[in-house]
């Protein structure tokens, strides 16, 4: 791990202005990623994890989405104050993104080879022939069998797992320093999911990239992440190194998530479900956003919003009763 952070997000705020009102999707998110590190951002739908990624990448649909505050420092430079032209040149070259749905992220009327080659032609000014040769190399690199023949196929001619590999190839094409993967394996079958995650982890090591993995799957996180940030209602509620988080969560929401999933390796009794639903982003409860669903909630939780308390070295928790939660183990 290096001293300077590859990406540092400070107090990022995003809101969506819709007819129904203002939805506060991201409410002061701060996190850092170092080169060669995998940060998993864990959350349910509506937790703001994907919006955070889009704001960092600068691909937020605006309107209705607006970044209303904060800084996104990438290698020391603030992406949010940078000109759009400059930012676009960074995208793809220095930071890249992998989406959940590869079929809709790839252009259906262009061959995959042409789409890969385009990256080199646009960003590197290579000739068509040279770019095409690189495209084949790249497809080989993400282990697409018979890359030479398949370079002229269209996206729909590939299986889901293969398409996700092509997405990864596109993200890797210019050897970026940071990759953001938004639910990269959610749409895939479990045996294929394992292949793709392995590939991603291997490439991350090889290129010494930073990886932000956005997911709702506690299993995937445990498999590949170094650090975890748990999001709830647009906030990070807990950050920790992966082992410590699973061993002893310091936030009741994390605890609840871990208790509510059925385990493959043991047959339990009734699942301990978290009661209630995540709040609507247009009406986030005052105090701690988790308080209506929290078994530990006290009066203070309904009035005072907990900041991220330092819990241990490299660990934070946004719970007034983090100590009790930790000790409850």
């Amino acid at each position: 791990m290096e001293n300077t952070a590859l990406l540092e997000v400070r107090d990022l705020r995003v809101e969506f202005r819709t007819r129904e009102g203002v939805a506060k999707a991201v409410n002061g998110v701060s996190c850092t990623v170092h080169a060669g590190q995998t940060l998993a951002v864990l959350g349910e739908s509506g937790s703001g994890k994907s919006v955070t990624a889009q704001a960092v990448m600068g691909i937020l649909d605006s309107p209705p989405g607006f970044v209303t505050g904060g800084q996104v420092l990438f290698q020391g430079r603030d992406l949010l104050t940078m000109g759009e032209e400059q930012r676009r040149r960074l995208r793809g070259a220095k930071l890249a993104m992998i989406f959940q749905d590869a079929l809709s992220a790839l252009n259906p009327v262009m061959t995959v080879g042409a789409q890969l080659a385009e990256m080199y032609q646009v960003h590197r000014g290579m000739s068509g022939k040279e770019a095409r040769a690189r495209a084949v190399q790249l497809m080989d690199r993400v282990r697409i069998p018979a890359a030479k023949e398949r370079v002229n196929d269209y996206p729909h001619q590939f299986s889901g797992g293969m398409r996700q590999r092509i997405m990864i190839a596109m993200a890797l094409a210019l050897e970026p320093d940071l990759i953001i993967a938004d639910e990269p394996t959610t749409a895939l079958d479990v045996t294929v999911q394992a292949q793709v995650m392995d590939l991603l982890a291997e490439l991350r090591r090889e290129f010494n990239m930073g990886l932000i993995l956005i997911t709702h799957d506690l299993g995937v996180v445990a498999d590949v992440a170094d650090r975890i940030a748990v999001m709830y209602a647009g906030r990070i509620v807990e950050t920790a190194p992966v082992h410590q988080l699973y061993e002893a969560p310091a936030h009741p929401y994390t605890r609840g998530l871990l208790d509510s999933i059925p385990r493959l390796d043991r047959k339990g009794q009734r699942l301990h479900a978290i009661k209630g639903l995540p709040p609507s982003l247009t009406a986030i409860p005052p105090g701690c956003p988790f308080n209506p669903r929290c078994p530990r909630a006290q009066d203070i939780c309904r009035t005072d919003r907990p900041p991220l308390f330092p819990v241990a070295a490299g660990r934070t928790s946004a719970c007034h009763f983090w100590k009790d939660t930790l000790d409850a183990r």
Binding site: R270, L271, H272, A273, K275, G276, L277, P279, S280, A283, P285, P292, R293
Partner: protein, 321 residues
Amino acid sequence: MPEPEQREVIGSGSGGAMSMASGEAESLKGGPLPGSADSGKARSLWSDAWHDLRRNPVFVVSALVIVFLVLIAVWPSLIASGNPLQCDLARAQDGPRPGHPFGFDAQGCDVYTRTVYGARASITVGVCATTGAALLGSVLGGLAGYYGGWWDGLLSRLADVFFGIPIILGGLVFLSVVTGASIWPVVGFIVLLGWPQIARIARSAVVTAKQHDYVQAARALGAGDARMLLRHIAPNAVAPVIVVATIALGTYIALEATLSFIGVGLRPPTVSWGIDISNASTLIRNSPHMLLWPAGALSLTVLAFIMLGDAVRDALDPKLR
């Protein structure tokens, strides 16, 4: 079995989580229905739609305009005392004057009286042709979409054939064979040309609706074809048909005018906006008032129907409530 200990009372908006011994509780949240409490009375889509429509100013205004137009179409003498066929060539193209607020046309007929009397033919043609085309089109298209197979193939090709007929040429041939003083040959021709458009829309809407799981769910419950079509598919497929039909209504009235213009549509002594618009179009520089009034009446009518269609479509979509 552990039963829920307490339930949230509706109307309080969000919050109020209920607790359940088995730990499966959910706080019941969701926007309360505007302007209505969840009372014990059963409600249906149609009663809810009517409830909404009565409070929608767009609907109220367009419905009032349409009611007014229909009234004068039936009883033009309510607001016009003159005779649209009594003309005085001496007054040809004269401007407005007391008792004749819209002026006179090229034949010296009173434009106000003719505009009022023209409503009958234009609206009858428009409404009848739209109703006919929409009924024929949605029934044929809907059945094609629902049953599929050879019936679908046959119908789609048939629709293609009708699509290919050029309007003017078709009108010339059809209306010179089927003639008569009444408006019905024109209505019949428009229905004949108009249904394939509606049928295509209806077919694709039904094919889309058919694929939804709730249709499968109804089938798994043992629902028959009639229930599936009327209760599950039709309400979810009707919106695009309504939109296309209301837009078509305007074009049908204009089509009637076109046919009248080339001399195969309505013929004098029938009075219609189409005839008057085509007569006025050559004299627009000298006497714009001749065009202005029948064209204005036509636009108002078309707009009223389109707005009505829009309001009905929105009312049938609970998501917009």
